[in-house]
């Protein structure tokens, strides 16, 4: 199997991984750090990639694990602080779309850790099969989960009077 090219991988997935990390942390600087950490790991392990899954699946799995490990080891940014940060930001934003995006991040951040990562991938149009592989659950189970997360997220969003 030909060795995947790091540079093109970086170009193709940088923004997606950043969005995933952003959905997870809700904090841009932290998301950038996690994205950086993810790509360092990708670079370190690229030679070991055997092609048993899609390259994107493998990369997302690294990103998801990086995010989950981050929270387990750090746990220093309580949700309340982040929510406040977002709300303040949302109030400052003059643009309605940006306000909605910021609010969406606040809502995503109220979900459970893994749910945040799953819904971020769903919002980014990643296939269910791929998400199931990334998080390591069956596709059937994932569908049920996604259905519940979607409802939860829309209801949180509705509570903010945005739908």
């Amino acid at each position: 199997m030909p060795q995947p090219d790091f540079d093109s991988l970086y170009q193709s997935y940088y923004k997606k991984v950043l969005k995933l990390c952003l959905g997870y942390t809700g904090d841009y600087a932290q998301a950038q750090d996690l994205t950086q950490e993810t790509f360092v790991k990708v670079w370190q392990n690229l030679a070991k990639f055997k092609g048993e899954s899609l390259l994107s699946t493998w990369l997302y799995r690294i990103a998801v694990n990086t995010c989950l490990n981050h929270l387990r080891t750090v746990r220093k940014h309580p949700t309340d602080t982040l929510e406040m940060q977002h709300n303040e930001q949302a109030q400052d934003e003059p643009n309605d779309t940006e306000q909605q995006i910021s609010l969406l991040y606040t809502c995503i951040h109220q979900l459970a850790e893994l749910d945040r990562l799953i819904i971020t991938l769903v919002l980014d149009d990643t296939s269910y099969g791929e998400i199931a592989q990334v998080v390591g659950i069956s596709e059937g189970n994932l569908r049920v989960k996604i259905h519940r997360i979607k409802q939860q997220l829309t209801s949180i969003f509705q509570r903010h009077g945005q739908l």
Binding site: Y10, L18, W43, L153, T154
Partner: protein
């Protein structure tokens, strides 16, 4: 429109700002890592070069007199092996010092990639060989020393020695190597990021 579709639309409207890296910061980070790598090699070299001094003194200039010639051979071997390893560390230190941050990013990256490849090859050959030779020499040394002890003493001494060697090789050694490898990889990754940004700017596409 379905409520969730609305959220998806909102999500997909977001503009992720272009990745901005600060080359000065990354270079500073690299210099820090380089200095730490150099310091590790230098300290190891000093320790390994001083060890034979003590061992030779103990074997040939102290009041201790060994009965067997084999023990003296072992002392010379242990000293020579430690000194050789110390010299290898000096060589690595010199190689690291020669890596020049003032060169272009591409050349600098190239230097680190060469060093990384060389280091990996050296670790693969040098490390097992060093432990094998050192333990062989210690084996010779133990023939006389352990022969002077009662059985329990032999077993305890040998057990302690083996435990220390295994700990040094599989835990301490591996941990140190892992840290060293991580530092080199971070340096290379930082340089790749800088290079990537430079290429993007040169192509007139800063928003990669």
């Amino acid at each position: 429109m379905d409520n969730f579709d609305h959220l998806k639309q909102v999500w997909q409207q977001q503009i992720i700002p272009a990745q901005t890296i600060n080359p000065a910061e990354l270079n500073k980070d690299n210099v820090d890592h380089q200095r730490k790598l150099e310091r590790t090699q230098l300290l190891s070299a000093i320790a390994l070069l001083l060890t034979p001094v003590g061992i030779i003194w103990m074997g040939f200039f102290s009041p201790i007199h060994f009965q067997s010639t084999l023990t003296y051979v072992a002392i010379v071997l242990i000293s020579a092996i430690s000194a050789t390893q110390g010299l290898i560390n000096v060589g690595l230190f010199v190689r690291l010092r020669r890596i020049d941050i003032s060169m272009s990013t591409t050349q600098h990256l190239d230097q680190w990639q060469h060093y990384y490849a060389y280091r990996k090859q050296l670790i693969r050959i040098n490390l097992p060989l060093y432990y094998l030779l050192l333990n062989g020499a210690f084996g010779l040394y133990f023939i006389e020393i352990l022969g002077l002890m009662p059985l329990a003493g032999r077993l305890i001494s040998l057990g302690m020695y083996l435990a220390w060697m295994l700990y040094a090789y599989f835990i301490l050694g591996k941990r140190t190597l892992r840290k060293e490898q991580e530092r080199i990889e971070i340096i290379i990754h930082n340089l790749q990021a800088i290079q990537h940004q430079l290429h993007s700017s040169a192509d007139g596409n800063p928003s990669k």
